[in-house]
């Protein structure tokens, strides 16, 4: 169980010197408890406290880095609303070395083209999983070299044949690929190979119990850069295993499972495969290996990944764009408010009840209410005028009347000046909107 801020505080020097960058020892302790700080920032912590705190605050799931910026693991919760999920699932598309060189190149081109720009965000596929199915170490080495030359994405070298890995790895070791898989039969050679080249390695066994035994044996080789594969290749069993592994690592701090987990899809039909991969992305897989590489298939998966890994610790906000209520026309009134959802929906409800089709422009105030935003200098006339212009409402209505909340009447003069719109001070409370519109 993770320590609370107060428990950590008891071990700190209580000097409140501020040298760690937080004003008080308790604030520092709370930052440590929420995983936002490192104990090293405190220059006065005693060795004894360091020992106690290090073991207690060590991350439940090890962070494994490989390839071109791929980070696996380092997660702390089972549900994102408890804190957040930190490291988005690494998505890899597989290419078999049994394909012809031309087919490999075509597939690689397709993977390289998996880049999307959507709602201001950029999505891309993280890496390529190269599967050794040819049974020929030389062929595998050649394909790995070909793919490595054709992409700068992260690489996963996948073969249970030690000879194949030995043949392929040296030429790409500098790019720090993930390799696999170490099984009960080959783990000594595969783990030692990974250790020799300082690359992370997949530990694969059939089921949780076998995996536990294998991890414990592999750890004895003095290497811990592991990614786990519970071996299952069907969705329901994989879901169960992913859940068990995450729970044991976090809730029980069970060290042998304190590593990120990789999942492989089993479905051949792309739509079914994406549905399957969606489950793994939602349920704790740190990496997922896909077959599908068509844009239409992969985009929704990447959008899901993006959504799941956003930080939920943000104020509840509506999108700061022009909203319309009812069948708006060129005579519709224009209201401005803030993007704090409680504020926005109070206004929207009353505007709707007024039965007059209207535009509402919520200004981006980081999700704060009108007076809060005004107090913090986030509801300034210049900012509102700017948002008004960007919203394009000027092209939608043929008047230039803007209704502002009564509580910020003080900004009306300045706003009129900078925006060129006639500013009408509305009622203080949104409940006055109905009476207000009747009087207009």
């Amino acid at each position: 169980m993770a320590l609370t801020g107060l428990e950590i505080y008891k071990q700190l020097p209580k000097k409140n010197c501020g040298e760690c960058g937080t004003p008080t020892c308790l604030a520092f302790a709370m930052a440590l408890a929420s995983g936002k700080g490192a104990l090293d920032a405190c220059p006065y912590v005693t060795d004894e406290a360091r020992e106690n705190l290090d073991s207690a605050s060590a991350p439940p799931i090890k962070s494994i880095k490989f390839g071109n910026g791929s980070v696996l693991g380092d997660e702390t919760v089972l549900f994102r609303h408890d804190k957040t999920f930190y490291h988005p699932t690494t998505l890899l598309v597989e290419i078999s070395d049994a394909l012809s060189d031309d087919d490999i190149q075509a597939k690689l081109d397709e993977i390289n083209g998996l880049e999307f720009d959507r709602v201001g965000l950029h999505y891309s596929i993280d890496g390529v999983a190269i599967l050794e199915t040819s049974g020929d170490p030389d062929r595998f080495a050649k394909v790995v070299a070909q793919i490595a030359a054709g992409t700068d994405r992260s690489l996963l070298l996948l073969s249970e044949n030690v000879e194949a890995l030995k043949a392929a790895l040296p030429s790409v070791a500098a790019r720090k690929p993930l390799i696999g898989s170490a099984t009960e039969a080959n783990y000594e050679s595969v783990v030692n190979l990974a250790k020799e080249h300082s690359v992370p390695v997949i530990i694969k066994a059939e089921g949780i119990e076998a995996l536990n035994t294998l991890v414990e044996s592999a750890q004895k080789l003095g290497y811990k850069e592991f990614v786990l594969d519970p071996g299952t290749r069907n969705p329901s069993q994989t879901l169960a295993n992913l859940t068990h592994l995450r729970r044991l690592a976090i809730k029980k701090k069970y060290r042998p499972f304190g590593y990120p987990v990789i999942a492989f899809t089993s479905k051949a039909e792309p739509l079914a495969e994406i549905a399957e991969a969606s489950v793994y992305v939602s349920k704790y897989a740190s990496a997922v290996v896909l077959k599908a590489s068509a844009k239409a298939h992969v985009l929704p998966l990447m959008a899901l990944r993006q959504n799941l890994y956003t930080d939920p610790q943000k104020p509840i906000q509506v999108e700061p764009i022009l909203h319309s209520v009812g069948e708006v026309n060129e005579n519709s009134p224009v209201y401005v408010t803030t993007n704090f959802s409680l504020t926005y929906y109070s206004v929207e409800g009353e505007v709707e009840a007024s039965k007059i089709p209207s535009y509402i422009l919520p200004i981006d105030t980081d999700g704060t209410s009108v007076l809060t935003a005004y107090a913090a200098g986030k509801y300034e006339p210049e900012k509102i005028a700017d948002a008004l212009e960007k919203s394009g409402v000027a092209e939608k209505v043929n008047h230039r009347n803007l209704i502002i909340p009564g509580y910020v009447a003080v900004i009306s003069g300045k706003l009129q000046e900078v925006s060129g719109w006639k500013v009408i001070v509305g009622p203080r409370d949104s409940s006055g909107i109905i009476t207000f519109t009747r009087a207009m």
């Binding site: 609370t4 308790l26 943000k314 509840i316």
Partner: protein, 521 residues
Amino acid sequence: IASYGFHPLACKVNIQCTEPTLTDNASDWARLSLELKRTLPVDKPLGISLSVLQTLPEILRQAHWDLSITLTDLESGYTVLRVEPANTRPAYGIAIDIGTTTVVVYLVDLTTGKIVDKQGSYNKQAQYGDDVISRIVYAVDAPENLKEIQNAVVGTLNVLIDDILKRQALQPQDIAAAMVAGNTTMSQLFLGIDPRYIRLEPYIPTMNAIPAAQAREIGLRLHPEALVHTFPSVASYVGGDIVSGTLATDLTNSEEIILFIDIGTNGEIVLGNHDWLVSCACSAGPCFEGGGILFGMRAMPGAIERVDIDTESLEVKLKVIGKIPPIGICGSGLVDCIAKLRKAGIIDRAGNFQTEHPSQSPRIRITADNKEFVLAWAHQAGGDKDVVITENDVKNLIRAKGAIYAGIRSLMQAVAIEIDMIDRIVIGGGFGNYLNIHDSVEIGLLPDLPQEKFEFIGNSSVKGARLTLLSQRAWNEALELARKMTYIELSVGTTFMDEFVSALFLPHTDLSLFPSVEGKV
């Protein structure tokens, strides 16, 4: 004082120096300081300012070397403030609370520790805005404004000090020390420090620990060299008034966990004990002081302070301050009123008026754009209008109480403690004098804990100021307190917002938090 020891920041001693002779030709100051060192209880550096030295030779001789010496007494040393012929008048200090709305001054006898006189009035800065934000906006709007707004508060204080001095037949020179407590904005405006960045993200005050200044630098009409100490702040919205108030609750000497709530516009809350402390400001708004409520007013004659509503007939019984016809309703009356409206089924748990009430009472008036309940008809009221409470008022109050309760819950979550681990709840602020605990729990303003855990402290800020004026150790404790108090920024993360939304119900969305209320509504 008991726990800190009596050791004022200024003191007065009587000494008899030997007259100089041809064989004992030490200088005046050497003679004086030798005698002082013999008399003073603690051996530490002793200093004197040029202005006192300039008049020293005459005074010593006029007094025939029989003298009363006033000194500031700090850990770093003594400084002679005043030399006069021997007398028995005490040295005085003043404790000051600069509130955003009201300012209070206590005259304190530094030899006995007693409060000799007190005086309060409205803060003249009000002409530049009712709240700290509009005053900051004004202060930075033009270069001369900051000085103007500083003069307004110094002027307010000088009037109060003059009144007291006149009443007590004292001179400004008789006041040897001052201790000022105010919120961060008030402290900075009092000292003429640019307050601009207090209100802008990430909300940074200029400094927390504030060096002492001489009265003449600030323009306070005390002894010109009297030191004016200002309480340290914790953050932009948890200031010296709260540090002072926390000290006054004796929280820093307590093993028990204490929750200190200043129920006012800024809604500062402190939770902790001698070992650790967290604080926040939950911006409850001016509701409890009558602001933003149609018939809201301060607790003064004519204000409804208690409301009883018959659940069948909806007939109303009121208790009005001063026993005169009502003209409005104050904070405690509002808290009471909401509880009773809910009990009588006039509003639901979200504060919505019920359009169909079985009583068909004419007191409930519902139209398309107005929903209100008549507390007093025009012919019973002190004004010429019906005194009513509207749905808008109810919702304003629910937001205010929701903010306070959410602030309490956020602090508890920050340190991961449960409600029953809180041993004592201390309620401060002017409003606290009038609050009914039972009603407050019933609407979900205060946590559902046994009545005996609650206590009122009144104006804790000026109490803490007096305490530190009288005790060097208490002052050191205040400085330490401000350094170790951990400020929780409520605008970061979702905890406060989740708690706030859950608290926008009577008494709360989660009824299990209010077991004593649950069965009744």
